[in-house]
Symmetry: C3
Subunit: 177 residues, 3 copies
């Protein structure tokens, strides 16, 4: 894996995205940065966050970044591999804060591409069901799809997970291995 | 690409289906037919249609075909490549008009196969979420899935897009290239 | 295909999962066991069950197993290939009966792995839409995703269907063919 590699890990709910992303980072030299975007609004979320945290080894440094992923990435040690989990919650946080989603997405992508160490980003694919009834859900679905497309266009590798199994949709570095 | 090639472009919302389909057609000799099935019922739809239209070059001839795709395809110049965008809206239009969906699907597929120029069809995959609460949405989901299956069985190529990236699910013409 | 092969067939609604799974089993020596998990609560379900049943040849032996898949698998003749259609309904049945979903999943997987004849299991992928509004749907989505992951980890082959077309996500026996 070359230093600046960017990997986007896509998949549905409970598709094993986080675990897969962690395994990619854990093959690199530690310590690793874990950029957590989840905010615990209720008991359901709290339990989910605790479960994810308990699974990770002590070589992970956790940074809470519900909104400022770009700033958090910029402030990391330059050679520290980073995992962002997950973009879909981060986008939700910005949507609820009524921020400009396109500007935030552009700012994030620029920060990811500035890194000299590998970055792995986890995002949900949410556009494969029936059109949602409510307008906010549709707006979110559109923004999430656009963010995934923009990141996928810049990423070195894109994998799509189904039932814990990855399918490689893009790999520009496969020859380096 | 041989003359009569039929390509089905599947994917979720905001997965880059339209853009991918346009790029397939734009490699062929122009002019190209754009068969638009969208009807602007509200401002959200109008904005989306305008955005799609603004992206297309002047070599596209736009035909509005919210219901009669078969007739519109039959009336095109025989050697004009055609893009149908999208089947999911077309099916919705027929569902709301209380037409016989299976008969309409069969009529469409026959017209597609009658073309001597390439046809690229865009359709949404809508069956990968939780079962919808309301019966109409379930009926639509079933009809959309059946239409996609029937077309995929007849198509020369079927691609599934995730985050703007295509995964080839079927390609019977790969040797011709 | 070696005797104990386990195949997991994943896909969305109306993606051709059942037909694909039947075709896998029908290449093996008959008779074949069809383990049906569907319970007809209403006319819509009854019509769907009847349609599936009418499509199957007489070499199929149908076993109704809305809850006890493990016991039904254990009771089959040891050399009889089995098709389980589908796990998503089976999980729904256990959810509605307020059973321990993790315990039931573990019991099922153990029974599948005890078989000396091939087993093909059909399951829906339901996690690729917007987060459902209601908590029960979210709980179900999580349980279904975990079951699919656990089975996929143990299966010899995992295929994901889109529009009737299979994409192989895992195949540990491809060299035996």
């Amino acid at each position: 894996m070359r230093m600046s590699e960017v990997t986007l890990v896509l998949g549905g709910a409970r598709s094993g995205k986080s675990r897969h992303a962690e395994q990619i980072v854990e093959r690199l030299d530690s310590p690793w940065a874990y950029l957590a975007t989840a905010q615990a609004f209720d008991a359901e979320m709290e339990a989910r966050i605790a479960l994810h945290r308990a699974r990770r080894s002590e070589s992970w440094r956790t940074y809470d970044a519900p909104l400022d992923l770009a700033g958090t990435l910029d402030a990391l040690p330059p050679d520290m591999p980073a995992l962002v989990d997950c973009l879909t919650l981060w986008l939700t946080n910005h949507l609820l804060a009524e921020h400009d989603l396109e500007a935030e997405a552009a700012r994030l992508i620029a920060a990811v591409l500035r890194r000299s160490a590998p970055v792995v980003l986890v995002a949900n694919e949410v556009g494969l069901g029936i059109v949602p009834d409510n307008a906010l859900a549709r707006r979110f679905r559109d923004a999430a799809g656009r963010l995934n497309q923009d990141l996928a266009a810049k990423a070195d590798r894109v994998v799509f997970l189904v039932a814990g199994l990855p399918m490689v949709f893009k790999d520009t570095v496969v020859k380096d291995r």
